[in-house]
């Protein structure tokens, strides 16, 4: 049952852009791109937030580290984006481990606030550091690539296939992230994370070094954010502080995780599929009307989160779907013809 759903989902994700490309509506491919990026970020955030149970409010710092590293290497040294991605992920991981180790002395919302403090300190640094372009940031020049392979190898898609190219790039990164996190979930590491979340004292009692594993969990989250940051930078063709350090890079993935089901591998994916298109659909339906650009989509997000928190804090995936679906099927089978 679950395997069938996985195959159908994967096929749908792979085929999704093709009819759109034939029809020539690249807009919905960009929506798909954003869904995948946020799903990937959510799956990454789930490691620190859902499994290790530490509220990280500032993963966007590492999103920015990834974006800046790859953009700098490309602009200053001409290094290809995928190599930049490796460098960005490595740098974000090291930086995250160094910054997080002292923070793990703090617990609960004290930890959460300390991550916000790191973000608040990162913002003026990003806005005033001349080497990385200060407030203006960096521009990534587009290079025309004759072949699809050339474009894919340099992560630079342009022209009418831009949206489709980045959609598939995001799909690849998302799939890799999901597969790796599925491994983590079932590994010893995943069990250590959840043991610390459920009862830190008990986990320490059986010899789990809680500070060490919290650092590892947040470093995994940071690595995922850095990779997504590189992808986003090359899609946006620029990196500047207000864009990559925006709070939405934390709140949207976190919301997706909560709506779908925190601590469940597929929770953030479901959440992103539900939440991200809302904002796009709203902006098309409201068009240029009086309520356009008035944040109506974010009001809806706020309401959804409040309702989930108040009535089903474990998320949509925690609802008894299998029972409901089975009852539905049995009724259908037993119904008189």
């Amino acid at each position: 049952m679950a395997r069938i759903a996985l195959v159908i989902g994967a096929l749908a994700a792979i085929l999704y852009p093709i009819p759109l490309q034939i029809q020539g509506t690249t807009y919905y491919q960009t929506v798909g791109f954003l869904v995948l990026v946020n799903a990937m970020l959510g799956v990454g955030w789930n490691v620190i937030g859902g499994w290790a149970g530490q509220f990280d409010f500032a993963p966007q710092v590492f999103f920015a580290v990834g974006a800046y590293t790859a953009a700098l290497l490309y602009v200053k040294l001409g290094l290809a984006a995928w190599l930049g991605l490796l460098a960005g992920v490595a740098l974000a991981a090291v930086l995250c481990a160094l910054l997080t180790y002292p923070l793990t002395r703090l617990r609960g919302h004290y930890f959460a606030i300390s991550t916000v403090a790191i973000w608040m300190i990162a913002q003026p640094i990003g806005a005033s550091w001349e080497y990385i372009g200060a407030a203006q940031g960096l521009f990534i020049p587009v290079k025309a690539h004759a072949s699809v392979i050339g474009a894919a190898l340099s992560l630079q898609f342009a022209g009418p296939t831009k949206a489709m190219g980045y959609y598939y790039a995001a799909l690849v990164l998302f799939a890799v992230t999901l597969a790796l996190m599925a491994l983590v979930e079932r590994s010893k590491l995943g069990y250590y994370f959840r043991a610390i979340r459920d009862d830190q004292e008990a986990a320490e009692g059986i010899g789990i070094d809680s500070r060490r594993y919290k650092v590892i969990a947040r470093t995994i989250t940071a690595a995922v954010f850095a990779a997504a940051g590189v992808l986003y930078a090359f899609w946006a063709l620029s990196v500047f502080p207000e864009q990559v350090l925006e709070l939405n890079w934390a709140t949207l993935p976190i919301m997706a995780t909560v709506v779908g089901g925190i601590g469940r591998l597929w929770g953030p994916v479901l959440g992103a599929v539900i939440l991200i298109p809302i904002s796009q659909i709203m902006s098309t339906t409201l068009g240029t009307g009086p309520l356009a650009g008035r944040g109506i989509d974010l009001i809806v997000y706020g309401l959804i989160i409040i309702v989930i928190a108040a009535f089903r804090p474990t998320g949509l995936l925690s609802l008894p779907w299998s029972r409901w679906l089975r009852i539905g099927r049995r009724r259908a089978a037993g119904a008189p013809a």
Binding site: L106, H109, A117, S128, R294, I296, G302, I306, F311
Partner: protein
Amino acid sequence: MTELAQAVVNGLQMGFLYALVAVGLTIIWGLMEMINFAHGEFLMLGMFGGWWLSARFGLDPLLAIVPIAVVMYAFGMLVYQQLMRRVQGGDPFTQIFATIGLLFLLQNAVVAVFTSDYRFVNEGLLVRLGGAKVQLVGLTFAMPLLLAAGLALLIFLALYLLIERTEFGLALQATSEDRDAARLVGIRPQRMFAMAWGLGAALVAIAGAILVNFFSVYPQVGLQFTVMAYAIVALGGFGSVLGTLFAALLVGVIQSVTVVYLPPAFKDAFVFASYLLIGLFRPQGLFGRF
């Protein structure tokens, strides 16, 4: 040297205003141990209230404090009764999510009504005092800030007396110490929590109505104050009202002294850096009771 002394004095005056911003959170977070990430949005509502009453009815933002406080007290109670009561017993994460949802809802409801434009108050006593200054022992005090700081201090002292000297305050502290024991002596914890939320919301909204005389207001103004308030409450030692005041003065001074030596973008960075340092080396805060 004079420059430094002047910066310290200015910082102290801002500190009194920050104390009022943070003390609502001292009650909700420090005393009642509930999380509110929408604290800055309450402040934003207070600022917008001050601006709107001034722009629409010509009411001085300082007088607008009264209706704003009443409305926000009711609003804070409503938030507790309709939302926070449901998530109170569960995972602390759920409280974070619920208030982040509230943050999005309030912020964007205000965008929907007033748009994201920056608004300024251009009437009222503090605006009219404008450039008026007082010179004292070689230091300059701007009249509007001095008055506002004095007003904030008055409200703060009234709150201190309310919490430390009245039956209501004692009941609040009793609920914070031990909910079940409080119930045994006839205190209804649910009611105390609702009143704490009302009081917290009203206080921060009052701070907003004063601050709107100095800062422009826009729907996204809240978060920076939320984080600052958390830093102040943590520095001051959770639940300590006087600790909050000292920590807020310290934050005001750190901010204004930073600006003398570094680009203005860094004015908050050192506030948060000091939160991190104190969080790591003295987790009970500078003035904590524990």
